[in-house]
């Protein structure tokens, strides 16, 4: 594996291999990019519960595509279909140019999958888990050993390499899980909620690892419940709601459809609240909770201006918080219902 530092040269072997044999161009604003994943009219039902209700997707090579949605939206089912674990009821899905239904073997040869539930062998050590993958990929003994050692180093797992995976923390386990996926060099990597349940620090580590992968030229298909995560990592985001795509676009395009970030101010009494409401234009008053919601770009400059203005008019603020749009806001804006309702229905 030719690992490269961020900003370094991507693995040459991969790029040339990926360019061969596929002619479908994405036509992405003049930048020639081939399609890594093409999905049309994908449907899947379990009994009478429709999980995927006609999904169309187009993911370009070398990009990060994020499927954003709450629990039960159909994210994992989509991943399962695209990774040959599950057959769709109808529709077509091609991964790296191969039909997932008829050419599962070819698809499996070029993909790597890190599922939502960590797929590590808990009774094996970190090193043994990686060695197992190297063996199952039928790598030569010396090559397998080399790959395992380099992955342990790259993922900062060398220290815990001799410990059983059962003793690993959630973050370490996810790292091992992803390292196992990278024993060979997959062209397309599926990450199903890779940071769900991780603490903020492990989440950052995982994001950095994903960014490194992309700089190596890998295509990443990522599902997540967090708008921030999709925003941080993805070139394109599709929002999935109850088996249907309700929006697709770049993070910026998507955020334009969502109410922007705002500042929330809480006051000790109604007098202060009214005073502040008079001073700050465009704000929304909530009498019951004594709060004021003020649209803001959440930048330091505008926040300082806002506080200065309150200071000028001697308005005392009890509590001050900045809110950036989250998945709930996206859902409310795009579907007219909150993401939690999607689960209940």
């Amino acid at each position: 594996m030719t690992c490269s530092k961020p900003g370094g040269t991507p693995c040459q072997g991969f790029v040339s291999a990926a360019r061969q044999g596929r002619v479908r161009g994405g036509g992405d604003g003049g930048c020639m990019r081939n399609t890594a994943i093409a999905v049309s009219g994908l449907r899947k039902a379990f009994g009478d519960k429709i999980v995927l209700d006609g999904i169309d997707l187009d993911v370009h090579e070398g990009t990060v595509f994020s499927l954003l949605g709450p629990n039960g939206a159909g994210k994992t089912t989509t991943v399962n279909v695209l990774t040959t674990l599950m057959k769709a009821d109808s529709g077509r899905a091609r991964v790296a140019g191969h039909d997932v239904a008829t050419h599962a073997k070819e698809v499996r040869a070029v993909i790597g999958v890190t599922g939502q539930f960590s797929a590590v062998d808990e009774l094996l050590t970190g090193r043994e888990n990686l060695q197992l993958m190297a063996d199952l990929h039928h790598l030569r003994a010396d090559e397998g050993k080399r790959v395992v050692t380099s992955l342990l180093e790259r993922f900062d797992l060398a220290e815990s390499a001799q410990k059983m995976a059962a003793t690993y923390s959630g973050g370490t386990r996810r790292k091992l899980d992803l390292a196992m996926t990278l024993v060979t060099t997959p062209q397309i990597i599926f990450l199903d909620e890779p940071t769900t349940g991780l603490d903020p620090r492990s989440r950052r580590t995982m994001w950095n690892i994903i960014r490194e992968l992309v700089s190596d030229g890998v295509t990443v298909f990522l599902t997540t419940q967090y708008l921030e995560e999709a925003d941080q990592l993805a070139d394109r985001i599709a929002v999935l709601d109850q088996g249907r795509l309700v929006a697709e676009g770049t993070p910026d395009e998507l955020k334009r459809q969502v109410p922007g970030s705002h500042v929330r101010l809480r006051f000790t009494d109604a007098v202060a609240l009214d005073a502040a409401a008079r001073v700050l234009n465009g704000s929304t008053v909530d009498d019951a909770s004594l709060t004021l919601q003020v649209p803001s770009d959440a930048g330091a400059k505008s926040l300082r201006a806002l506080l200065d203005r309150l200071d000028e008019h001697s308005v005392d603020v009890e509590e001050f918080s900045v809110h950036t749009p989250d998945l709930d806001d996206v859902f409310l804006a795009l579907t007219g219902h909150a993401s939690t309702e999607a689960i209940a229905q």
Binding site: L85, R108, V113, G115, F117, A119, L124
Partner: protein, 253 residues
């Protein structure tokens, strides 16, 4: 690499993995070997003399206790198969073009290996408690053949039960009937002395011909009829277990 040799390599890799599991969790093999030993000591020293079986009790009971040594280890297999299925690792194998049967074969062979340890312990114990056999080398080989066939059949059925179970906890319970079955056979006491109903069940259930054929071979009086019935049962159970596990394996994502 050809498909067959890839399948063999994959099975060997899976076997090594399962074997490591057993070594990491020695309680499973301990459980498989210890319980039959405890039962052996109890029956030989506590209850055995109360049964009139027409020969020394340790000689009567050893074939049945060998069977118990096979069945007691099975719950560990069922739990381990179910853990594989429910903890996501199997999906990793599935998206990796690992030979389909390898995961299953690995479990079956690992089970048979740990079973052999338990059976060896029980046979050693029997000799220590005064078991003597007039059996020839050929008789012994025959007995071992039937024991191996039984372990093979039981392992496939257990893998299927583990596959079908919803959780590892319930998987451990699904094999309880298999563990209890030898008790309702001629393993511990002759079927002829059992009550109406139970007796008929004991006479026609698979463990009775298996035990009787091993008993005959170890006593130096082999019975072709029992041996044929035993092997037929083993073949049938193994085929059902194999087909059932294959079907469940490809169905469960």
């Amino acid at each position: 690499m050809s498909i067959t040799s890839a399948a063999l390599t994959d099975s060997r890799i899976m076997l090594r993995r399962n074997f490591k599991h057993i070594l990491r969790n020695p309680f499973t093999i301990f459980n498989g070997a210890l319980m039959p030993v405890v039962i052996m000591l109890m029956f030989v020293y506590v209850f055995g003399n109360a049964f009139n079986v027409g020969e020394r009790y340790v000689e009567y009971a050893t074939p049945g206790l060998i069977l118990l040594a096979i069945t007691y280890g099975l719950s560990a297999t069922a739990v381990s198969v179910s853990s594989d299925m429910t903890k996501g690792i199997v999906n990793r194998f599935k998206v990796m073009n690992v030979s389909r049967g390898a995961v299953l074969t690995g479990h079956v062979v690992a089970t048979m290996l740990s079973t052999s340890v338990a059976v060896a312990v029980i046979i050693g114990m029997a000799f220590a408690l005064g078991f003597r056999s007039p059996a020839t080398l050929l008789d012994w080989l025959g007995a071992i053949g039937i024991i191996v066939a039984t372990a093979f059949a039981a392992a496939w059925l257990t893998v299927a039960l583990g596959m079908a179970a919803k959780t590892p906890e319930s998987a451990g319970l699904t094999v309880v009937p298999l563990i209890l079955l030898p008790f309702v056979s001629s393993a511990i006491a002759p079927a002829a002395k059992m009550g109406q109903g139970v007796r008929q069940f004991a006479e026609y259930q698979p463990f009775t011909p298996i035990i009787e054929s091993v008993r005959g071979l170890l006593a130096g009086t082999p019975s072709g009829g029992y041996a044929a019935a035993a092997l037929a049962w083993c073949a049938g159970i193994a085929v059902v277990g194999y087909l059932w596990s294959r079907a469940t394996f490809s169905k469960r994502a």
